[in-house]
């Protein structure tokens, strides 16, 4: 022990600084050198390196050091991978559930076996800290496989109404390269699908390593394939005709592009997109714990987290105190190389991302915001950005509205819990939120109020395989994790795969209105029956069907009507019905939104009673409505009675579900309670099929409203009258105004404006292939949830097709609320 050591120890003893605590990169370097620092695709259980591909050199963001070459795939690589996956699907989907469970279990075990290697690779390649890959990312990967091994085991019991969709194309981002791919792969494989995955360009290594590990774990060739390439390569994967489902996590703009690309094709799609999640701190919070929660919320993974709590909302009476404490906390931050075990933040993933972050912060500074960054050392080299807190900003500020995807927090005060909820929801996004309060009623009410797929109470950024994760609004649709995550990878057993390409002109589709529908004198009218009370002849009271919204019949805005003809004689006009236009859509959507909060707060029992009451009132008019169905459609009276009776039965069926699908307790690793609440989607636009004018109508609005949605519904445009007769059923059944709004007219015209309406949360369309494409394409704008039939009829009389879990899936969205518990720490 030389003198140098002595002086070093003395120096440290005096200043009590931290020293370097590096994790060795040897294990990762060894794996890379086994592959000569050059990696291909992993397809069908082997490495595939086609000739003449361009390469992409992946680098460590912490140092800029090159790690390995990967290849930029081309279309034929996608074709190869998809065809292998398709072949593998034949046998994988037919394996006994238990066998698939064994495979998933084996992957989990092998991930644990290689825990250290994966953690080091991930940290090196992404720039995130080894502590996070070691303690968060990789344990969650293994946990996911264990959890979904269980769902594989149960696939033919718990999911017996469903079947796999086929080949899944998964596209995942760079922020949690391995963890997020696992979120797609686990449920997909568990349900019997096979997967072709494209990792993000910046972070390809862990996915490739993982593919090799899966192979080693005995996963059959072709079941899980990894191909690398650029963004347009990802589009090729998504568009490949044999890819049956696209699962995407990433930015909202790319998600929107994928929605448009796949519109109308029949491919399933789930999107987990961006966020601007609020962290709400009430004055009843444990403030010091909230400050740590803020650190977890926004500085975890350098803020490159879709659920990052990037908007801090603090009650005004503690605002200054909280800001002061956050600033002090940030002064203790340590930033450094991803393999240093004692850092809080590592490097930003890429120069481009770094520039984006810097540009946002510079812009905020230039527009007068207060930007705080602690005076802490940053490594001289590498893409390091300090933790940043921005105050003196308002809801109009760009940094408050837009997702930055970096370690940048904006803070705003609020006055009351109500205002906190309003501010929290004042965003296009809806991925996550956290609420900090020791007051249970406050915390729970806010958790319910916030429009987000995950709400953490007194914590932030906790994840587990048993709880679904995913967004409301422009944060996407579909869930990763939990049982709810399975539905993204299955289809009803009765359904056949649809794959089609439909050409439509998005600009002109459904745009024309009123032409040829307006009644003109001489065109004819409904037959003029006569009544003879007391021997005196007089005409029937004129009955004109109006449109129905806000609980009342309204004359259509355009004052147009359209004739509805009898089936036996295309000349006989049975009635004129209102022809709705975009202003009627506007009014109806407004009425629906007005009704929604009250309808949602009603006891489920009450919603059930109303729907049962509808059944009661419908039965009173059984004869009349059956006759009208027969007159309109030409069905036999017997079949028309069947339709009415089944509609009554279906009202009972959905009335029964009003209080039996509220959610469940998720068995996560949390000590406490994680509750999945199946919330309403919101205001749902529904276009009814022409087949079964009454039953189709009832089968669609009933599941929506029992699950507390409000609907704007377009009855069959050929046979709208049975639905319009329902106005009186609604009115006599105590249905609150605005819960069901009915707009008769041209289905595609009304659908166009419903789908284009930014305040409609979901669109269900049962009509043409063209209309289905239009709805999916147009919904990309605000990332609406859609449910379309691609022009294929279903048999609404059939129980499997006309009711069931599929309807509940579309009528609800899962919100997972995490509530840690405990005050007892000792005896």
């Amino acid at each position: 022990m030389a003198g140098n050591l002595g002086s070093e120890i003395r120096r440290i003893f005096d200043n009590m600084e931290y020293g370097p605590a590096p994790e060795s990169a040897d294990v990762a370097k060894k794996w890379l050198s086994q592959h000569k620092d050059s990696l291909g695709h992993f397809i069908n259980g082997e490495w595939v390196k086609p000739e003449n591909r361009k390469t992409y050199t992946t680098c460590s963001p912490a140092t800029g050091e090159a790690l390995a070459d990967t290849i930029q795939g081309e279309e034929e690589d996608v074709n190869l991978a998809v065809s292998c996956a398709k072949t593998a699907f034949q046998s994988w989907s037919q394996l006994p559930a238990h066998t698939r469970a064994r495979h998933l279990y084996a992957v989990a075990r092998n991930v644990q076996k290689h825990h250290r290697l994966i953690a080091v690779i991930e940290a090196l390649d992404n720039g995130k800290s080894i502590r996070e890959t070691r303690d968060c990312d990789i344990p969650l990967v293994a946990r996911h496989f264990y959890h979904y091994a269980g769902w594989a085991q149960f696939s033919d019991t718990e999911m017996r109404e469903w079947k796999p969709v086929g080949v899944v194309g998964a596209i995942v981002p760079w922020n949690f390269p391995l963890m997020l791919l696992t979120w797609k792969v686990c449920p997909a494989l568990a349900m019997g699908n096979t997967v072709v995955l494209k990792p993000a360009t910046f972070t390809r290594l862990s996915a490739l390593l993982f593919a090799e590990i899966c192979h080693e774990a005995g996963l059959p060739p072709g079941v899980f394939n990894v191909v690398t390439g650029n963004g347009s390569f990802g589009s090729k994967l998504a568009l490949h005709p044999d890819v049956d489902k696209v699962a995407f996590t990433g930015s909202t703009p790319v998600g929107q592009t994928l929605r448009r690309l796949t519109a109308g094709t029949g491919k399933k799609l789930s999107l987990e997109l961006g966020g601007k999640s609020p962290v709400i701190v009430m004055d009843t919070a444990d403030i010091d714990s909230a400050v740590e929660g803020i650190v977890d919320a926004i500085y975890f993974n350098q803020g490159q987290v879709c659920s990052a709590g990037s908007r801090l909302l603090v009650q005004e009476n503690i605002f200054d105190d909280v800001i002061q404490r956050v600033k002090e906390r940030l002064k203790h931050f340590r930033i450094g190389h991803s393999l240093d075990k004692a850092i809080d933040m590592g490097a930003i993933v890429s120069q481009a991302q770094y520039n984006t972050i810097k540009e946002y912060v510079d812009d905020a500074r230039a527009t007068g915001a207060d930007v705080f960054q602690p005076d802490i050392p940053l490594p001289a080299k590498g893409l390091f950005y300090p933790p940043t807190l921005i105050t003196n900003v308002q809801t109009v500020s760009r940094v408050v509205r837009e997702e930055i995807f970096g370690p940048v927090l904006v803070a705003l005060p609020f006055r009351t819990a109500k205002e906190a909820g309003n501010l929290g929801n004042n965003t296009n996004y809806g991925l996550a939120a956290s609420v900090w309060s020791e007051n249970l009623p406050t915390a729970l009410e806010l958790a319910i109020t916030l429009k987000a797929g995950t709400v953490w109470v007194n914590c932030h950024n906790l994840f587990d395989a048993a709880a679904g994760f995913g967004g409301y609004r422009e944060s996407g649709f579909g869930r990763d994790g939990g049982k709810e995550g399975l539905y993204e990878y299955v289809m009803p057993k009765w359904e056949r795969t649809i794959r089609q390409n439909v050409d439509i002109d998005i600009k002109t589709f459904g745009a024309s209105f009123g032409s040829g529908t307006s009644p003109t004198p001489g065109q004819g009218g409904p037959s003029k029956s006569q009544l003879c009370p007391n021997g005196k002849q007089q005409p029937l009271v004129d009955h004109t069907y109006k449109v129905y919204y806000g609980g009342a019949q309204k004359r259509p805005d355009g004052c147009y009507s359209r004739p509805i003809y009898a089936a036996h004689d295309k000349q006989t006009i049975v009635a004129y019905v209102g022809d709705s236009n975009r202003k009627d859509v506007r009014n109806a959507v407004e009425a629906a939104h007005k009704a929604a909060p009250g309808w949602g707060k009603r006891a489920a029992h009450n919603r059930a009673q109303i729907v049962y009451y509808m059944a009661e009132n419908l039965e009173l008019r059984r004869q009349e409505i059956a006759e009208r169905i027969s007159l309109l459609t030409g069905k036999t009276l017997e079949n028309s009675f069947k339709e009415v009776d089944l509609s009554i039965q279906r009202l009972f069926y959905w009335g029964a579900y009003a209080d039996k699908y509220g959610g469940n307790v998720q068995e996560t690793t949390l000590y406490g309670c994680t509750v999945c609440i199946r919330e309403p989607v919101g205001v749902v636009g529904i276009a009814c099929p022409d087949e079964f004018p009454l039953l189709g109508f009832v089968s669609l609005f009933a599941p929506a409203i029992v699950r507390a949605n409000c609907v704007v519904i377009i009855p069959s445009d050929k046979y709208p009258i049975p639905a319009l007769d329902f106005y009186q059923v609604f009115d006599t059944s105590d249905l609150p105004a605005g819960v069901v709004n009915v707009l008769s007219g041209n289905k595609d015209h009304i659908s166009k404006y419903l789908t284009e309406h930014q305040n409609v949360d979901a669109m269900w369309y049962f009509g043409s292939a063209e209309g289905s494409k239009f709805v999916e394409f147009t919904s990309a704008e605000n990332v609406k949830r859609t449910w379309v039939n691609y022009g294929k009829e279903r048999d609404w009389m059939d129980q499997d097709q006309g009711q069931g879990e599929e309807f509940l899936y579309h009528a609800t969205q899962c919100k997972n609320i995490w509530m840690p518990m405990g005050t007892t720490f000792s005896n």
Partner: protein
């Protein structure tokens, strides 16, 4: 050493305190995974930990013999050859204090004098340690007697019965009386008996009340409760210290005690102080670790650092 004059009891402040146990647990668990020291840093930190130890014996069978042995160890906590090898041989490394029962203070005074460590503070537990279930007058008397015998620091226990019944006014009055009994030159360390307090919110409140009453240190436990110095409890108390400092400007020290046995633990506690309070709170005037067997483990670790070999217990003086 810093001195805390205390303040009027502010019940608004006390009653507003609230601590979220799950969140504290999470921070406590991750704090230790976020910070670690290796190699020379570890050695230097361990030496610093040594200087913060209140080397303690509090047993029914304590006699002059083991107190004497304890005092000699207090003056020579790490083998001289190891210190020399680390270039710290002339630094005068000793523990922070010795801590004994009031009946053993006299033995400690004599032993430290013999060992050449008269400057090492002697802490005496008092006030009916560990349960505090003796009449208040005798508790005060014990303080005065211990000081008379040569104690320079007094570790008192609060009345957990008063704390549990929420009678913070009475708790405050009692500690204030103890502070008065200590006077300005004897440091008052107040043991909260956190394992008996039921909730971390109570721990936080007790911390505030103890500081308002003038405690120079707040200390987790006697070592005799079911749960002693755990990280969540420590985190709660240091947060209270931080808030008290921000509001009053007075620095109060922290002493975790009970169950701290490994060298690794001692670095973790130092890291807690550094992260939550700052470097100033990593020195013996504001940080102590109440421990008996901890020192042996630190010495073993330093032996390994110097020699590269793991020591046998018999190679280090007990």
């Amino acid at each position: 050493m810093a001195y805390n004059p205390g303040m009027e009891l502010d019940m608004g402040w006390v009653n507003g305190a609230v601590v979220d146990l799950p969140a504290v647990n999470r921070r406590a668990a991750t704090l230790l995974t976020k910070r670690t020291v290796k190699k020379s840093w570890q050695a230097a930190w361990l030496l610093r930990a040594v200087t913060c130890i209140d080397l303690t014996t509090l047993s029914g069978d304590d006699t002059v013999t083991n107190v004497q042995r304890l005092c000699f160890k207090a003056c020579n906590p790490i083998r001289q050859d190891l210190l020399d090898a680390m270039g710290m041989g002339d630094y005068g490394i000793t523990v922070g204090a010795v801590c004994v029962y009031s009946a053993r203070v006299k033995d400690a005074v004599q032993s430290l004098k013999q060992a050449g460590g008269a400057a090492i503070p002697i802490a005496s537990v008092a006030t009916g340690f560990p349960a505090g279930q003796v009449p208040f007058e005798t508790r005060l008397k014990e303080i005065s007697m211990a000081i008379g015998l040569g104690a320079t620091e007094i570790d008192i226990v609060i009345s957990r019965d008063l704390a549990l019944s929420g009678d913070w006014g009475k708790v405050y009055e009692e500690i204030k009386a103890c502070k008065a009994a200590c006077g300005e030159n004897v440091h008052l360390k107040t043991i909260l008996g956190t394992g008996d307090l039921g909730t971390l919110t109570n721990v936080y409140k007790a911390s505030l009340v103890a500081m308002m009453a003038g405690s120079d240190f707040i200390k987790t436990s006697t070592g005799k409760e079911g749960v002693n110095a755990t990280m969540p409890v420590g985190l709660t108390m240091v947060r209270a210290i931080r808030e008290y400092f921000h509001k009053t400007g007075f620095k109060v020290g922290f002493k975790p005690a009970g169950g701290i046995r490994t060298a690794k633990d001692s670095c973790a506690w130092l890291a807690l102080m550094k992260e939550e309070l700052g470097d100033e709170w990593m020195r013996a005037d504001l940080f102590r670790i109440g421990a008996s067997s901890l020192l042996t483990d630190i010495e073993r670790q330093l032996y390994h650092f110097v020699t590269g070999r793991y020591a046998a217990a018999h190679q280090l003086p007990m």
